[in-house]
Symmetry: C2
Subunit: 464 residues, 2 copies
């Protein structure tokens, strides 16, 4: 417990001494937690440590190990019972990369273009490859006959992350199937200052893996214009990416045992790994310090919530999801009643999404309506930070496994207007994070976690 | 003359056949030029050629030679009498550069940071240098005693280009005087997506040149935070920049001889060179195609304007201003009555600045007021494109010499809200240029040039 919390707990109106056996007033406790969250920059300071002292932290890196140590130490200081749950994770190493646009006429120099290999990409031969480009805007427009022997450039306009990221994820496989020698994707973003975005891609089982990388929207546009005006631009590409043997990593789990129903568990999740660029400040450092601070504030209450709360810093979300899968498997027999993920940046909190599905796995509007009605009083506690809104939607990648196993899945939703432009780039850095918004996100997460962990009979009504 | 111009000229209402001796109606001709400018994408298409087929073009590069050939060819096609005026320019070659933040603890890897050497920077020794950083926010806060043996990082917040660029221009000299081993400047921009900005710097005569480079605002902030929190970050820096022997270059001059007072000259200027990053689309490709198209439209009139118009594509603005200086010296005995520069991007036209000074070189409000009153009718012609505003201000770098020699100096002013974030970066590329705004800028420049070249007795009233 930190001094600032002790100070707030000493305020007589909010936290008058009460006997341990007396049930806490849930609304008053929610107000206390809200006030505490909005009064502290501890989460912001933790994010600074993670970004500056450790930096980016891809699966299998020493930086991720350092982040795991840091998370364990920080949550222990916060009064949680911390365990490490080992998980083997992939170790993909980017290595140096070089991309050049060859000159269109004698006497001019080659132009070096920015490039970031995509996760799990194979390398080129050491001497690189050289080929003409075939630029195309969509899978529909793709002409396999034009791709053979070419470097395919997917210049898909950004219409939304979920839609456009398909070219990053599947582009190399589609190109390889047509005999292309490499696949380059325009970075998945709505605006660019010549900033390439990395991210994962998956080779389909039936294809020969070909090198896969992201280029900037600027260069994708240039190549496209050159092609449109009758040039046949040639690129020289060298990638040295390698996939090495799996490495032992861990989910970091900080537990606060429930005072009445310890066997019922509420998970607060984020992922501690990042891509190997920038500082992973918003993806997902901000989510981690938010759930960590929520755990700290709940642990500092005079009485623990009714249910057990577990803060889980998942490993390997970005290029494998091994942490989330391992957690779901290891805890399949427990009663995880709800899970909340924070993995969409550090913008202003907007509310929560709830992922309710019927037996067939389809969205279940009736169940959602019951949940929304039942949660009305608790959502009211979130009004001061603008997070009282509940809507049907996706929860989060890391908690996908426990949601599949029956937990109610929630996601803390943020204003994402500044998110995609820095996502998976060197620009995902600490100075873009607003400390006031961190406080508001901590408030939203803490109060919502309190609602889920304390409300007596809410959840069975809608659980499958 | 291009087909689209012929078509417009054939419109009877605007360009009815008239005898060569009959004076043109200035307002009707202004309306014709405006309509032609707004109806054509020729300037935009020229900008695409310059950006895509040639790309960036620093002084002394083969790309700049190619751009000069291109400008000469294009202006000849436009009906101007084109000459090349030779100028020797510096040849500074960036070479590879590498900057690493050394890890704060054993087991972690060094972090590679983006870097762009500043123009005229010297190199490091081949093995590089390694030193602690001293981060400081301003010249006022700079403590020379803390800089000795350090890599100084100028983390000056962006308050405006003119003010903040001093740290780029003078930072290395100030640091060197205090015994620093290198100088890094936070890129001069108001927003960043991890995009470094290059630009020129000058070593003062009394200092030992030390390596000088720009880093991203993100990394400047990180280094600053590390220092503020008690760390002493160490950097490893390798620069291989060299200054080679001067190279023969040229100003490209396209002339349209005046029909009545050919000895009175109106210069329309831009610079054809760029930094060695991006495509130089807005700095200053857009300015060049704008003045070129203005020249083309004036050349296509049935009668030339009263005065001579010269479109000058200056060389070596960025790192030497040799083109502007050479032009002013070579033409000092001519009567250049006015000069207009377009070198502030491709944003919407806002009007023109007029640089009127008294004998002591101070701004001359009385002369400006006379000019503003005298130009009212002509400015009215610019109202349809929002460029009717005239204000006292700076004209342009390339035409500075001819303005000093007595020409009225003007600058086409643009909305610069999107300019500084891409200025001198790899993000200054064609796709960010709006074709509609190019048309409006061409219209503003053409009509203003027409006003200056045609209005009989306007200029002597305010000229020194």
């Amino acid at each position: 417990v930190r001094p600032s919390l002790l100070l707030l707990l000493a305020l007589p109106a909010l936290a008058a001494p009460r006997k341990p056996t007396q049930a806490p007033d849930p609304a008053a406790t929610a107000a206390l937690l809200l006030g505490q969250a909005l009064s502290s920059d501890e989460a912001y300071e933790e994010l600074r440590e993670l970004c500056d002292d450790i930096g980016h932290r891809i699966s299998g890196s020493p930086q991720l190990d350092a982040a795991i140590d840091w998370g364990m130490r920080r949550m222990t200081e916060d009064g949680l019972a911390v365990t490490l749950e080992p998980v083997d994770v992939p170790r993909w190493v980017r290595g140096p990369a070089k991309l050049e646009l060859l000159p269109s006429r004698a006497g001019l120099a080659a132009r070096e273009l920015a490039i970031l290999a995509l996760g799990s990409s194979v390398s080129t031969p050491p001497e690189g490859i050289e080929a003409e480009v075939y630029v195309v805007s969509s899978f529909d427009a793709f002409d396999p006959a034009r791709a053979k022997g070419k470097i395919v450039v997917w210049d898909a306009p950004f219409v939304g992350y979920g839609e456009t990221v398909r070219y990053r994820g599947e582009g190399a496989s589609v190109a390889s199937r047509a005999g292309a020698v490499a696949s380059l994707v325009r970075s998945v973003t709505d605006r660019s200052l010549y900033t390439p975005h990395t991210g994962n891609q998956r080779y389909a089982a039936d294809v020969i893996p070909i090198p896969a990388a992201a280029i900037t929207p600027e260069d994708a546009a240039t190549l496209h214009r050159l092609q449109d005006h009758g040039s046949t631009p040639r690129l020289r590409l060298q990638l040295t990416a390698t996939t090495e043997a799996d490495v032992r990593s861990a989910n970091v789990v900080g537990e606060l045992r429930g005072r009445e129903r310890p066997e019922e568990i509420v998970v607060l999740g984020c992922h501690l790994d990042s891509w190997d660029v920038g500082q992973g400040a918003q993806d997902d450092g901000a989510g981690c310090v938010t759930v960590m601070q929520a755990g700290a504030l709940l642990a500092a209450l005079p009485q623990a919530p009714r249910r057990t709360v577990r803060v889980v810093l998942f490993t390997n979300e970005e290029n494998g999801l091994r942490g989330g899968k391992a957690y779901a498997a290891a805890h399949a027999s427990e009663r995880i009643v709800a899970a909340v993920e924070d993995d969409t940046g550090a913008g202003a909190p907007l509310g929560f999404s709830a992922d309710l599905r019927d037996a067939k796995g389809d969205p279940d509007p009736a169940a959602f309506a019951r949940l929304q009605a039942a949660l009305q009083p608790q959502l009211g506690w979130l009004r001061p930070v603008g997070a009282a809104h509940l809507e049907a939607g996706w929860s989060g990648a890391d908690i996908g496994g426990v949601v599949e196993n029956g937990a109610l899945g929630f996601g803390l939703e943020h204003d994402m207007s500044g998110y995609w432009i820095i996502h998976h780039t060197d620009a995902d850095t600490f100075e873009k994070v607003d400390p006031d918004l961190v406080r508001r996100n901590v408030a939203a997460m803490t109060v919502f976690a309190w609602a889920l962990a304390e409300t007596p009979e809410l959840l069975p009504a809608v659980q499958p």
